[in-house]
C-alpha cells in the first residue's frame, strides 16, 4: 500500500476535425487537455465530471485503447508511453500487460457479443493468452460466474437472455478472468436500476477485498462516487479542476465548479432546502475551449486574470489539489 500503480503526466488526447473536400484537418476536439494524476495500489480513484468533460476518453487512453496525443503513462512501474520522448511500449509487452489492466463499460447492452455464449465471452481472454482452453476454460468461466453472483449454468446462454444488471456482472466476470490488478469502470452503473446499482457496487467492493484490486471509477453520479471512492478528481472540459480525498471534497469543496456540481445534487429529503449555485451559460465546445481558465465563461467568481492565464494546480495541503486563481 502506498505504492503507485498508475502515474499519468500531462496526458492529452485530441481528435482531429476534418472538413472541406480534401478532408483537411481544420481543428481538434481537445477531449483530454493536460491531465495529471496518480493512483495508489488498492485505491479507488473516482473520476467525476459531466458529459463531454473527457473522463471516458481519459480512461481509454490510459489503457492504451486510444493513441495519446501527448503526455506519459506509467503503469505498475512500466512505461506505457511517453509521447514527447517518443517512447512507446512494445506490442508484445503491451499485450501481456493487458492481463493486468481491464475495463468495464457503461452499456451492458452492447458490451457483450450477442452471437457468443456467456462461456465463450468470459473465456475469450483465457484462450487468447493461452491460460486455458476448451473444457478447462469453460470450467474457469463457471467459477467466475459464481464469484460474481450468477449461476454456473449460464455459460451456455446468450447475452440477450439476461437483464442489464446480470450482463454487467458477466462483464465483470470477463474482466476478472485474467486476474487483473487494475480495473477501469467507465460509468458501470449508469444504465442500471437503483437497486441493481447497489448490488453491483457491493460486488465490486467484495472483489476488491478478495483480490486486492485497484479501481479507476468513472462516473457522473456523485452519490455513488462519494460512497465508493477513496480519492476523487473533478474534470471540466478536458482537465482537472480539483482532486482530493472523498471526505475532503464533499465537506470542503474549493473550486467553484465543484461547488456548483455538489449543490446540484438533488435533495435527499423533501424538507431539506439547498442553496443552489446555478451556472450561467452552456458548456463550451471542446473544439474551441476558452482562453485562460476554461471555466471562466461560467464562473460566478470570475476575475480578470481568469480570462488570460490558465491557473496551475496547487496543493492546498493534505494532497487537496485545486486549479483556480482564487487560491
Amino acid at each position: 500500500m502506498g505504492e503507485l500503480i498508475l502515474e499519468v503526466k500531462n496526458l492529452k488526447k485530441y481528435f482531429p476535425i476534418y472538413s472541406g473536400i480534401l478532408s483537411k484537418v481544420t481543428g481538434a476536439v481537445k477531449a483530454v487537455n493536460d491531465v495529471s494524476f496518480n493512483i495508489k495500489k488498492g485505491e479507488i480513484f473516482g473520476l467525476v465530471g459531466e458529459s463531454g468533460c473527457g473522463k471516458s476518453t481519459t480512461g481509454r487512453t490510459i489503457l492504451n485503447l486510444l493513441n495519446p496525443t501527448s503526455g506519459s503513462v506509467v503503469f505498475d512501474k512500466k512505461l506505457l508511453f511517453d509521447v514527447e520522448a517518443n517512447k512507446f511500449i512494445d506490442h508484445k509487452e503491451m499485450r501481456n500487460l493487458r492481463r493486468d489492466m481491464q475495463i468495464i463499460f457503461q452499456d451492458p447492452g452492447s458490451c457483450l457479443d450477442p452471437r457468443m455464449t456467456i462461456g465463450q465471452i468470459i473465456s475469450e481472454g483465457l484462450i487468447e493468452h493461452k491460460i486455458a482452453k476448451g473444457k478447462e476454460a469453460i470450467g474457469k468461466s463457471k467459477e467466475l460466474l459464481e464469484l460474481c453472483g450468477l449461476r454456473s449454468e449460464y455459460v451456455t446462454r446468450y447475452p440477450h437472455e439476461f437483464s442489464g444488471g446480470q450482463r454487467q456482472r458477466i462483464a465483470i466476470a470477463r474482466a476478472l478472468a485474467l486476474t487483473p490488478k487494475f480495473i477501469v469502470g467507465d460509468e458501470p452503473l449508469a444504465a442500471l436500476d437503483v437497486s441493481i446499482q447497489a448490488q453491483v457496487l457491493t460486488l465490486l467492493q467484495d472483489l476488491k477485498e478478495k483480490f486486492g484490486l485497484t479501481y479507476l471509477f468513472i462516473s457522473h453520479d456523485l452519490g455513488a462516487v462519494k460512497y465508493f471512492c477513496d480519492r476523487i478528481g473533478v474534470m471540466y472540459l478536458g482537465s482537472f479542476v480539483e482532486q482530493a480525498s472523498s471526505e475532503e471534497l464533499f465537506s470542503n469543496p474549493l473550486h467553484p465548479y465543484t461547488k456548483s456540481l455538489l449543490s446540484a445534487i438533488p435533495v435527499s429529503t423533501p424538507k431539506e432546502k439547498k442553496k443552489r449555485i446555478i451556472l450561467m451559460g452552456d458548456v463550451p465546445s471542446p473544439a474551441n475551449p476558452p482562453n485562460g481558465c476554461k471555466f471562466h465563461t461560467r464562473c460566478p467568481n470570475v476575475m480578470s486574470i481568469c480570462k488570460e492565464i490558465d491557473p496551475e494546480m496547487n496543493d492546498m495541503g493534505d494532497n487537496h489539489l485545486v486549479c483556480c486563481h482564487l487560491y
Binding site: T202, S268, P270
Partner: protein
C-alpha cells in the same frame, strides 16, 4: 381544498403477444389535484411509462390496449373518447415531455416550426402571431437569444436546451396537466437542476398539474407533493412526499430509500434489495414483491394484498399492515 383534475380508477393495460395477452398495468388508481405534482417512482418494468402512455392514449399499436378502468379528466372518461377527441386534448389540455430530447424533436424541422405546429393545430395561430408566441414561449423556458434560436435546428442545441424546447412545446397551449416522463434522466446534474427549477416555477406561475415519472428519489424529494411507488404494474405505496421519506411502509419503498447512495457513509455496507424484477409473464403468485422481500410471509406467496388506507393520506399494498 383543491379540485381533482384527473382521476385514474383501476386502470388495466395489456399487450397482445404471441404467448397471449400480457398485463402491464394491473389495476392502477390515483388522482392529481389542480396545481399539484404527483411523483411516480419505480424501476424498469414497473409500468410507469405505460401509465403515462395510457392516459395519453398513445400506447404502441397494434399490441397495446386498455383492458379496463377509467381515466376521468374533468369528469370525462378518456378511455371512451374517439381518436379525434383525444387529438384535441393532446398538446392542448394534456401535454407530455419525454426522456430523450434528441429523439423527441424532429431533426429536419427548425425549433420554431415544431413549436409553431402545436400552436397552429390547437390555437389556430398563423404567421407573425405564431412566431411571436413561439418566441415568447422560448423566453419563458429560459432560452437565451430566442429570436435566433427559433430558426435553429435541434442538432445545434445542447441536451439541456433541447429539453427546454420540449417543455416550451408542451406548455405552449397552457395545458392543465403536464406529464413528464423521466425528463432529466439523460441530462447532467447541473442541467437537471435548472430544468427542475424551471418546471417548478412554471407550475407555480401557471397552476399546471404535473405527473412526474422518475426512478430518482432525490428528484421526487425536489418536485413531488404526492408519491406513488410502482412495482410490476401496481401501486404498492401511495402517500405524501413527506411521509414517503419519513415513514415508508412498504418493504420495496424502504429498500429503494436504503439503496440511495447519497446518504450512506463510506464504511457502511449497502443494504440491497436482493434478486431482480420478475418478467411480466412470470408474475409471482400472490404479492409481486414476494420473491425479493426480506419480510416475506406465507400469505404473501399465496394472495395479493389490496391497496389499503392505513393512515390518513397513506395507502400501502402489503400484508404486514392488513
Amino acid at each position: 381544498m383543491s379540485e381533482t383534475l384527473i382521476k385514474v380508477k383501476n386502470l388495466v393495460t395489456s399487450f397482445k403477444s404471441s404467448e397471449g395477452p400480457i398485463r402491464v398495468l394491473d389495476g392502477v388508481s390515483f388522482s392529481i389535484d389542480k396545481g399539484k405534482v404527483l411523483g411516480i417512482v419505480g424501476e424498469s418494468g414497473c409500468g410507469k411509462s405505460i401509465t403515462s402512455l395510457s392516459i395519453m392514449r398513445l400506447l404502441p399499436q397494434p399490441n397495446g390496449y386498455i383492458e379496463s378502468g377509467e381515466i376521468l379528466y374533468n369528469g370525462v372518461d378518456l378511455t371512451k373518447l374517439s381518436s379525434s377527441e383525444m387529438e384535441a386534448l393532446r398538446g392542448n389540455d394534456i401535454s407530455m415531455i419525454f426522456q430523450e430530447p434528441m429523439t423527441a424533436l424532429n431533426p429536419v424541422f427548425s425549433i420554431g416550426s415544431q413549436i409553431g405546429e402545436v400552436l397552429e393545430v390547437h390555437k389556430r395561430l398563423k404567421g407573425r402571431e405564431r412566431r411571436e408566441k413561439t418566441i415568447e414561449m422560448l423566453k419563458l423556458v429560459g432560452i437565451p437569444r430566442p429570436d435566433k434560436i427559433v430558426d435553429e435546428y435541434p442538432h445545434q442545441l445542447s441536451g439541456g436546451m433541447r429539453q427546454r424546447v420540449m417543455i416550451a412545446m408542451a406548455l405552449s397551449c397552457d395545458p392543465k396537466l403536464l406529464i413528464a416522463d423521466e425528463p432529466t434522466t439523460a441530462l447532467d446534474v447541473t442541467i437537471q437542476v435548472q430544468i427542475l427549477e424551471l418546471i417548478k416555477s412554471l407550475k407555480d406561475n401557471l397552476n399546471t398539474s404535473v405527473m412526474f415519472i422518475t426512478h430518482d428519489l432525490g428528484v421526487i424529494a425536489e418536485m413531488a407533493d404526492e408519491v406513488a411507488v410502482m412495482y410490476l404494474g401496481r401501486i404498492v405505496e401511495y402517500t405524501t412526499v413527506d411521509d414517503i421519506f419519513e415513514n415508508p411502509m412498504h418493504p420495496y419503498t424502504m429498500g429503494l430509500l436504503c439503496a440511495r447512495l447519497v446518504n450512506v457513509k463510506k464504511c457502511d455496507k449497502l443494504t440491497c434489495i436482493p434478486g431482480m424484477v420478475p418478467t411480466l409473464n412470470n408474475r409471482p403468485k400472490g404479492c409481486a414483491f414476494s420473491t425479493r422481500c426480506t419480510k416475506c410471509m406465507d400469505i404473501c406467496k399465496e394472495e395479493m394484498p389490496e391497496l389499503k388506507q392505513i393512515k390518513p393520506n397513506h395507502k400501502v399494498r402489503c400484508w404486514l399492515y392488513s
